[in-house]
Amino acid sequence: MSEPAVDELAQKAAFDRYVVPELEVLYRVARSITRNPTDAEDLVQDTMLRAYRAILRFDGRHPRAWLLTIMRNAQINRVRRKRPELLRDPDAAMERLADEDSQDLGPEALVVESEFDAAVEKAVGALPDKFREVVDLVDIQGLSYAEAAEIIGVPTGTIMSRLHRARTRIRKHLEASGAYVNGRPT
């Protein structure tokens, strides 16, 4: 412990101010990008650690976006370290998707949904990872386009176009499944 105590106090104050209020959002996003509770918790801890070390250099603007950028970098390192093949391997991605589908059937999911909601859920499950990720972050988790852009590491316009294409697919899926055709519920 070579740093003066005053720095540590400032560090703690900044951490409490900028990082702690975002923990829930960070955890939700981590759940979304890791698809696994244990990995998600690890990822948030990793992010917290990095944020803590960097916090005296943070200008205080857009803490969520700043944290999401840190989380993205942390996640890239983790993926490289643990499973370098995953990002470009569609089969692995599909497997992960299937895993998550079964994992999601917790007690809450067993509550009977309306047919429309169920069809939307199914349509989301059928989306390619890249699209589903954006739907999850923006339409489900409520991140802004800009925040989703930070965590995924693409321009805001890309987020928007993926989101729109994803919703169009969901809409077509609904139509095809007969759950909902233009204004006529079920």
């Binding site: 412990m1 540590e8 951490f15 702690v20 509770p37 918790e41 909601d117 409520g142 928007m160 169009t168």
Partner: protein
């Protein structure tokens, strides 16, 4: 939202194709206010586009309602981790 506070002017109508292209941006509140007014008018008048926008609205609402319960124990553990981190024994 803030965007609504601008003046409305009477402008030529937009057609279905134009509306179709920006429907989602419109729902995300991401088109210019003047243009949004024109779209809104079209949606009122055109049954097909009206139903289409309604479908997307329902999809968005359905997705927004899916936000899963977050595991509060995990959040508590993360808070505790934060405490530990900032209390100096990194």
């Amino acid at each position: 939202m803030i965007r609504r506070a601008r003046t409305r002017r009477h402008r030529p109508e937009v057609n279905c194709r134009e509306v179709g292209k920006v429907l989602q941006s419109y729902l995300d509140d991401d088109v210019e206010p003047g243009f949004a007014d024109k779209i809104a008018k079209h949606l009122e008048a055109c049954r097909d586009c009206g139903l289409e926008v309604e479908t997307y609205r329902r999809i968005k609402a359905s997705l927004a309602a899916k936000l899963p319960e977050v595991d509060t124990a995990a959040i508590d553990r993360l808070r505790a981790f934060g405490e530990q981190l900032t209390s100096g024994d990194e």
